[in-house]
Symmetry: C2
Subunit: 162 residues, 2 copies
DNA sequence: TCCACGTAGTTGACAGTATCAACCAGCCGG
DNA sequence: CCGGCTGGTTGATACTGTCAACTACGTGGA
């Protein structure tokens, strides 16, 4: 396989994964988009979680994170609490509904991962994860070249016409 | 690493890859979105290419493929030719402009792949591709369960509220 | 030969994902 | 005290993705 055949498998896997997750999430009676679920999970995992932390961790524009957080707030899955250390910032916490949404998500993720990794050995999965992380790091640590900078938000590419 | 940590690395790699490609494509003076470029490439690779073929190959909704094709048509990068074997269908061909766009794309892809695979051995890349294809197959060959069916377009999940 | 059923492609509508720009309130170091 | 920077917000826009309904056409069976 030549190097130039890396992009298509990645696109294909990504698309299959997202389509599967969308379907599985609907089957589980969850009506949140995938990004909302990932943000919820980030809040669940990280103590003293802020929007700024999530934007950095997920490499997303802070504007988008703000919108997602506000929708989760509207759904009653999170609350925003004043950050005593920085009055510009709010700490994010899951509500009891948010906690139970996390439980349901984990069930969905387990199904997805089981399906994805069918017939694969645990070593294979670990290998894939390692390689994926290395490649993502390579792309993100472009150091001023095309793509993301090493810290904070990436310097953004302009796409399409105004 | 536990199984449940597979989703995040995949999301992260996907996002990094798309962001990098968007930036690299802009740097190359190309103003087409990534999906347009992939459709162009599918037409370039496949003789007697049709919209239906692309929709199947890329696992996309035929409506979206039609729209992308019409934009490529508007840019003068492809032409639609009547299919003598099926009057419902059109065969797609690249114009000279389309051919030169393919050349510029290949240059961008080479940069992206070189960057992505920095410090990786060719065996690693082959392993990644193999694993990605297996996982995508696993997700797509769900045979009536959540996710795609084995042939044609997947049965679609309804997301969000109407 | 006719027709029911299915397919290829199109168009309308809508939602999710993603980014850029400009802004305000607040933080912090000189 | 203030300039520069940061956290978060809002407006605007583009890209990606799907569902539904439609028309023209293909095909196999009655």
């Amino acid at each position: 396989m030549s190097l130039t055949s890396l992009g298509e498998p990645l696109h294909r896997l990504t698309h299959a994964y997202r389509a599967f997750m969308r379907s599985a999430v609907v089957d589980a009676g969850i009506s949140l988009p995938i990004t909302h679920l990932r943000v919820l999970k980030a809040i669940w995992k990280q103590e003293r979680c802020t929007a700024q932390f999530i934007a950095q961790r997920m490499r997303r524009d802070k504007a988008q994170i703000t919108r997602v957080l506000n929708e989760l707030l509207g759904e009653g899955l999170i609350v925003k609490v004043e950050n005593p250390g920085d009055r510009r910032s709010q700490l994010l916490r899951l509500t009891p509904d948010g906690e139970s949404m996390i439980d349901r998500m984990q069930a969905v993720e387990t199904i997805a991962m089981d399906r994805m990794t069918r017939h694969l050995k645990p070593d294979d999965v670990d290998t894939f994860i390692t390689l994926a992380n290395v490649m993502a790091d390579n792309l993100q640590n472009a150091g001023g070249e095309a793509g993301a900078t090493t810290t904070g938000e990436p310097n953004h590419a302009k796409t399409g016409t105004p």
